[in-house]
């Protein structure tokens, strides 16, 4: 099993994600520089957080035009599980793989704090081990993390079960408290909070099990016994 961790210029959670995938969940992961192509034998793709291109223009806007995104799109069509975290989510949105947009937080500040998610869809490759409405203690760290969709799209998202995670409280003013969404097919998931920062007990001041289940869901989806 092979998980691709894509590295853009300015990605800065790539190494954290890699550590959790390999050291904690014993997956085989490989870094892919944004100018490389993705080989066919990739079982899952992760776009980590950070500040690709220093957030110039708009978060994720430039990285969405990286050469590797073509291959990510092909994989998305094939149904390969794809996860974008924080800046990775912003890139997936800018690349048109996920609906909506990410705007400046209502505080207008960068926010780094622990929050709590509610699982709204437990059928995706990144949530199938979680219980519906289960709570996940997890940190956010972003300046442009306020998910926004217009009311028509919101209706569609609800109808097609594309809302994967909601914040349990209003955190940054996002539409309908949305923290993570998926594609219509469910294989592409984007989320603002950082599961890789919550999956180990040593660095999670609350409970690391729920966030671990995000990774165990991936193991489950790509057929790894754990």
């Amino acid at each position: 099993m092979n998980v691709a961790v894509i590295v853009f210029p300015g990605s800065n959670c790539d190494r954290d994600m890699y550590h959790v995938l390999t050291d904690v969940f014993k997956l085989n992961a490989t870094y892919f520089w944004h100018e490389k192509g993705l080989p066919k034998n990739i079982d899952a793709v992760i776009l980590p957080g950070g500040f690709s291109y220093g957030d110039r223009l708009r978060s994720g806007a430039i990285a969405a035009h990286s050469p590797i995104i073509k291959d990510v799109k092909k994989m998305a069509e094939k149904g390969v599980p794809i996860l974008g975290v924080c800046n990775g989510f912003q890139i997936l949105v800018e690349a048109g793989l996920l609906p909506g947009a990410l705007l400046k937080n209502t505080s207008l500040n960068f926010m780094c704090e622990w929050t709590s998610l509610i699982v709204e869809n437990n059928t995706t490759p990144f949530s199938n081990k979680l219980k519906l409405y289960q709570k996940i203690p997890i940190p956010i760290a972003n300046g442009e993390g306020r998910y926004y969709v217009d009311s028509e799209t919101l209706k569609q998202l609800k109808k097609k079960n594309q809302i994967v995670f909601r914040y349990s409280d209003t955190v940054n003013g996002s539409s309908d408290r949305i923290a993570g969404v998926c594609s219509e097919d469910g294989n592409v998931v984007g989320m603002m909070p950082h599961p890789e920062r919550a999956a180990e007990s040593q660095i999670n001041p609350n409970d690391n099990k729920p966030a671990s289940l995000i990774f165990e869901s991936l193991l489950n989806a790509i057929g790894v016994q754990n």
Partner: protein, 721 residues
């Protein structure tokens, strides 16, 4: 920007001719106080720099400590005061950038940032508020973009910083010992400039920082670009792993002038370079400008011709520019050319070593009567006073600040900001605890005792996480050293720090001196900052919660030392009295016993008692862990003090320990054995913070209400005044 007349004569004498214009610029930059430490260097030698864990190599810009199992940590501290006072966003951001490159230049990956911020009275001074808000944003935008967590620091407001700002940034790096760059060079090696283009920003920055701040010299302020810095970090670390770097130096104050002359001097080589080869941001920059520009995000690399291709490939990958600007020569000269024309040709030891000064010092007149107290208005309602106190900018929670910093990235942060010290996990299973502390109010009253107090406070903070202090960073910030009274305060602080470091065998692994911190309205108070690095071999003390029935024990004596306390200064608006002093023996016994009981696992939480005294320290525990308590003030070991002095004295060497009742007996046995002064002073429970004396209630705060005020008051003040 130029040399002082005596220095011009000195230079002329040393080189045996009249210097050229470029030479003058180079030497003026390098001989500035900021780069040469000419006022302080003679005295800094007193600090102990060696220790069993210290690794010293020539040409390092950061201190290196061996943390075992083949790993090292690196640490450095810098300030960016003058630039931040003019342009707080860019000044603070480039301050972060500079210290990060110091960590990088040892070949280690930066893993944490700390900052110490000081501004005027933000309650009244709108300009101070503007400076504060933008300096925080500058640090946040820079550090967050780099993906290096900002995990700790301190913020303080005092009228002495009006129209000014102290922005101190410390950074920690981590890496394998075998990957440390061992700076070396041989004839024929090439000199490469890597990173951002050289522009006209920051010209004369180091001289600007070596003078009083009288005018806003904006061209002397550097422009930040964290994205390029991030690319440089990755490119340099890749080049290091590929063994492509012989020597590495960050371009900071003094730009190319300093980097080239200091590299050559440290490695006993000469460097010949051509300014036409430097990649510039603007056309027609003259050699003088290129040599002293302080444009950011640049590194100087010495490598060999056969490694150049690989280095260029790495730069291509990250789309950063690198230019071969010169080569290593035998003659110990710094030879700067423009094409074929020589602009400067100076012996490197002349450039890199300004004539050191022995400045006169004299005890300041203001200290004569400073320890006298005046009669203070009695406090009628301590509860009301406490509500005002916890909302005050210096006491209020700094969550508005650290909430804007990504303090989780890197997934090492075990103990998060907002506690005594932050703790990072290291790859060898050990933990690193770190804290920076300063206290200008104490240092103003007694520069020696105040500085020692900062040192002890930083130690107490790391001890509270279960760490043993292994290294110290000092940052000495004072006014104009040409004033003998100011220079006396500098020397006193330095002597105090030296004495404490020697007694506790904590080596100084890095430091910085920043002088000329003054504005037309006056000098800043003496502001030494101490950073302490502590190591935890097994488990850090990481508190999850405090429960009903848990006991609270105080270690250490509360003394009649109110001078410079927040209580005197904020509540009574009085500057004076005797400031807290550290008894070295008592300090050592207390520190060792607290560390012992923490290591033995007897304690649920430990908290140091400092700013705002016992009343604030206990309230902080209650507000952080959302639980009430009942404290009996008569049980606090003290010198028969009045109730306000027990509550608000800032005596050092005091710790609060929280533990389950069942462990109390064991704890007391250990504490008695080590002969520390201690007592059980209360229990946790309920939803009120209550201080009583002989069953009479003195303070009664609702946890919820005070918590809200404590967390939000700083944000409210900044955003809505």
């Amino acid at each position: 920007m130029s040399l002082e007349s005596g220095e011009l004569d000195d230079l002329t004498l040393k080189i045996g001719r009249k210097p050229t214009s470029t030479e003058l610029q180079i030497v003026a930059a390098e001989w500035s106080e900021h780069c040469s430490y000419k006022s302080s260097k003679k005295h800094l030698k007193m600090l102990p720099m060696k220790g069993p864990l210290v690794i010293s190599e020539k040409g390092y810009d950061s201190g290196v400590l061996d943390v075992g199992d083949g790993y090292v940590i690196t640490a450095h501290i810098e300030s960016h005061n003058h630039p931040s006072a003019v342009e707080p966003y860019g000044g603070a951001a480039t301050g972060v950038g500079g210290v990060i490159r110091d960590i990088l230049s040892a070949g280690t990956r930066p893993i944490a940032i700390f900052n110490g911020l000081r501004f005027g009275d933000i309650e009244k001074d709108l300009h101070a508020r503007w400076l504060f808000k933008n300096a925080v944003k500058g640090i946040a935008d820079y550090g967050n973009c780099l993906g290096i967590p900002t995990i700790g620091g301190e913020v303080e407001f005092d009228k002495c910083y009006s129209n000014y700002a102290l922005v101190d940034v410390a950074a920690i790096g981590f890496g394998k010992k075998k990957n440390l760059i061992k700076n070396h060079a041989k004839t024929g090696d090439i000199v490469v400039l890597l990173g951002g283009a050289t522009g006209r920003d920051g010209i004369g920055g180091s001289q600007f920082a070596s003078d009083s701040l009288e005018s806003e010299n904006r061209s002397a302020v550097q422009i930040p670009d964290p994205f390029i810095e991030k690319l440089i970090i990755e490119a340099i670390l890749e080049a290091r792993t590929e063994n492509l770097i012989h020597a590495l130096k960050d371009l900071g104050g003094g730009g190319l002038s300093c980097a080239v002359s200091e590299t050559a001097d440290a490695l006993s080589i000469g460097i010949e370079m051509d300014v036409d080869k430097v990649h510039t941001r603007e056309l027609n920059m003259n050699p003088d400008e290129i040599m002293v520009s302080e444009s950011q995000e640049r590194m100087l690399i010495v490598t060999s011709n056969d490694k150049l291709k690989k280095l260029e490939d790495i730069c291509k990958k990250y789309r950063i520019t690198c230019s071969v600007i010169g080569h290593v020569t035998l003659d110990n000269m710094m030879h700067v050319k423009k094409g074929e024309k020589t602009c400067a040709n100076l012996p490197t030891d002349v450039v890199a070593n300004a004539t050191l000064l022995d400045r006169p010092s004299k005890k300041p007149a203001y200290l004569e009567n400073i320890e006298n107290e005046k009669k203070l208005k009695p406090i009628i309602d301590y509860t009301k006073m406490m509500m005002k106190f916890i909302a005050s900018p210096n006491i209020a929670s700094k969550i508005w600040v650290y909430g804007q910093y990504d303090h989780e990235v890197g997934i090492r942060t075990v103990v998060k900001p907002g506690k005594d010290a932050s703790v990072l996990r290291l790859d060898n299973g050990k933990f690193l605890s770190a804290k920076i502390d300063g206290n200008p109010k104490h240092c103003y009253i007694n520069p020696r005792e105040g500085a020692i107090g900062c040192f002890e406070e930083a130690c107490r903070n790391v001890v509270c996480t279960g760490a043993k202090p292994i290294g110290m960073l000092d940052h000495l910030q004072f006014g104009n050293p040409e004033n003998p009274e100011i220079f006396w305060t500098f020397l006193e602080s330095l002597k105090g720090i030296t004495d404490f470091a020697k007694y506790f065998e904590i080596p100084c692994v890095g430091g910085k001196v920043s002088l000329y911190n003054e504005t037309p309205s006056g000098q800043i108070k003496p502001t030494p900052i101490i950073g302490i690095l502590g190591l935890i071999d097994k488990t850090p003390l990481s508190t999850q919660n405090i429960s009903k029935g848990d006991c609270i024990v105080i270690v250490g004596q509360t003394k009649n030392e109110m001078g410079g306390s927040e209580y005197f200064e904020y509540i009574h608006k009085f500057i004076g009295g005797k400031c807290p002093t550290v008894n070295f023996l008592e300090s050592k016994i207390n520190m060792n016993s607290v560390l012992n009981v923490i290591t033995k696992g007897l304690v649920k939480a430990a908290h140091d008692c400092s700013k705002g005294g016992l009343a604030v320290a206990i309230s902080e525990l209650c507000m952080t862990y959302q639980i009430g308590c009942n404290i009996s003030l008569e049980k606090v070991p003290n010198q028969k003090l009045d109730v306000d002095r027990i509550l608000f004295s800032e005596s050092h060497s005091r710790y609060l320990l929280v533990l389950e009742k069942k462990d109390l007996k064991k704890l007391e046995t250990l504490l008695k054995k080590s002969k520390v002064e201690y007592n059980v002073i209360g229990v946790f429970g309920g939803d009120h913070i209550r201080f009583n004396k002989e069953s009479k209630n003195i303070i009664d705060l609702s946890v919820d209400k005070s918590q809200k005020i404590w967390f939000n008051s700083l944000k409210e003040l900044v955003l809505h005044g």
